[in-house]
């Protein structure tokens, strides 16, 4: 080998010289590259920098993604992920090694948002955030509904419209927050917590109108998921359109496809109860009316009440007629009464003269049949026949109950 160098007359490089050359070549040649590979040995350092390797079957490439570059990456770097890394090569002379400084990462075969969503969903799933037995029932009869949303958004407008239309009796308390952009995650979480701490809020609606996955992203965060989970009252999530599913939707006690649907869900219980009450009230009254009508028909059929009522009405009618004619009648009645009394007196005197009254005054009575014939033997009467018994004073109308041939 040395012979060769002597022949060619080449001067040796110092290590530093060579390394600087390599560094120049590598860093200029690979200043802006994309590399696809599988992540391995992924580590997040306390500094916030990510260290990992990209590899395929035959080679390994050490990589670093500094904090300022990885803070905008939504998904977590995990071993086994196939990714495309963007960045540049960098040589580190003290160790004689090179690595890739990664400025951007993109998953392969899946969108980065979807990947981030999946990763958080898996984590929360493991922690039991979505367990069906954790879900609480939405109160049927809420007094006050808390609404977590933007105070200037279409979601709030839709919710208030729906509640006004469907259930005017429920009160609403809006807990305003930003729903996208810087600080929105913290604001949403705090808006939920404030309502949860209020005593008379029975259910919370977390809502946002439709938008891209980026727009809805704040509802796909762990902080918001934890706020929903720790809420002391049931939470209904109505974020985005029908097709958008967020982490917030999955953690909530109930998921509504839209903000309007969330309001419908809250109003539904009361509306159903109102309908039920209305139905029962009408049924109560119609059943009682039916029952009374039935009883009236039975009474009319089974008792003489009806004829009694008619009789009483006839009496009343007669009385009115009598009253109207009383003036003219009075004098004539008086005269007739006087005449009758006179007749009665004279008849009595005649009767007394005849004798039987003397017998009657001793307790005997005379029985007469309807034709005024006097009864002397049981054979002259039949059971049920009506007789007249003349007493010392007055007379009785009597009916034969039974007949006995002997005393």
């Amino acid at each position: 080998m040395f012979a060769t160098r002597a022949v060619t007359g080449m001067q040796p490089y110092t290590v530093s010289q060579l390394t600087v050359l390599i560094k120049d070549v590598l860093e200029q040649r690979f200043d802006n590259i994309y590399v696809v590979g599988e992540v391995s040995n992924a580590k997040v350092y306390p500094s916030g920098h990510w260290y990992f390797s990209l590899k395929d079957q035959e080679a390994t490439l050490p990589c670093v993604c500094f904090k300022n570059a990885n803070s905008s990456i939504k998904f977590k770097l995990e071993d086994g992920l196939m990714i495309v890394a963007r960045g540049k090569l960098s040589v580190y002379p003290p160790r004689g090694s090179y690595q890739m400084i990664v400025t951007g990462l993109e998953p392969v075969g899946i969108g980065e948002w979807q990947l981030a969503f999946n990763q958080l969903a898996e984590k929360l799933e493991r922690e039991g955030f979505f367990a069906p037995e954790r879900k609480r029932a939405i109160p049927i009869f809420p007094r006050r509904i808390g609404v977590v949303t933007s105070p200037v958004g279409a979601a709030l407008r839709d919710i208030l419209h729906t509640l006004k239309r469907r259930n005017r009796s429920v009160n609403v308390i809006i807990s305003p927050c930003k729903v996208q952009g810087e600080g929105s995650v913290e604001e949403i979480a705090r808006a939920i917590a404030v309502l949860s701490d209020m005593e008379d809020v029975d259910v919370i609606i977390v809502a946002r109108g439709g938008g891209s996955i980026e727009d809805l992203w704040s509802f796909n965060t762990e902080l918001v998921a934890r706020a929903v989970l720790s809420s002391s009252v049931p939470v209904i999530s109505g974020v985005g359109h029908e097709t958008d599913v967020t982490i917030c939707d999955l953690v909530a006690d109930m998921r509504a496809p839209t903000p309007t649907a969330a309001a419908e869900l809250v109003a539904k219980g009361t509306v159903e109860l109102m309908d039920k009450w209305g139905l029962l009230d009408r049924r109560l009254n119609s059943l009682m009316t039916e029952k009374l009508a039935l009883v009236r028909r039975q009474v009319e059929r089974l008792s003489p009440l009806n004829s009694l009522i008619r009789y009483a009405e006839r009496l009343k009618h007669l009385k009115e007629r009598v009253v109207s004619r009383r003036q003219t009648l009075n004098s004539r009645l008086d005269m007739q009464f006087a005449a009758a009394q006179h007749m009665l007196k004279t008849s009595r005197e005649k009767l007394a003269a005849l004798g039987p009254l003397n017998v009657l005054s001793r307790g005997f009575s005379v029985l007469r049949k309807a034709d005024k014939s006097v009864v002397r033997s049981f054979s002259e009467v039949k059971p049920g026949e009506q007789l007249e018994a003349l007493l010392h004073e007055g007379k009785l109308k009597i009916t034969i109950e039974s007949i006995d041939e002997k005393w």
């Binding site: 049927i140 809420p142 279409a154 029975d202 029962l280």
Partner: protein, 82 residues
């Protein structure tokens, strides 16, 4: 929550009253059921016909506490998609 429970209990009892009234029962029983039913129905109505809906909004104060004020929804008609 007590209000919800009261309401549901009353509604359930009214349901029972109506279903018993629907059967073959004596007039006296029917009258006392009807009376109870009317009582329950009036009670339920008073639950349902509460005051006009109130919409309020929370405002965070400088000291971190919250106050509520009535919400004016006039500006919402032109609301954006958020």
């Amino acid at each position: 929550m007590t209000k919800t429970i009261d309401f549901e209990t009353s509604l359930k009892e009214l349901e029972q009253v109506v279903s018993e009234l629907d059967g073959e029962i004596k007039l006296e029983r029917a009258l006392s059921l009807f009376e109870r039913g009317m009582e329950l129905s009036t009670q339920l109505e008073s639950f349902l016909k509460v005051a006009e809906q109130k919409v309020e909004i929370l405002r965070r104060q400088a000291d971190g506490t919250y106050t509520t004020e009535l919400f004016d929804d006039k500006n919402l008609e032109a609301a954006g998609d958020q």
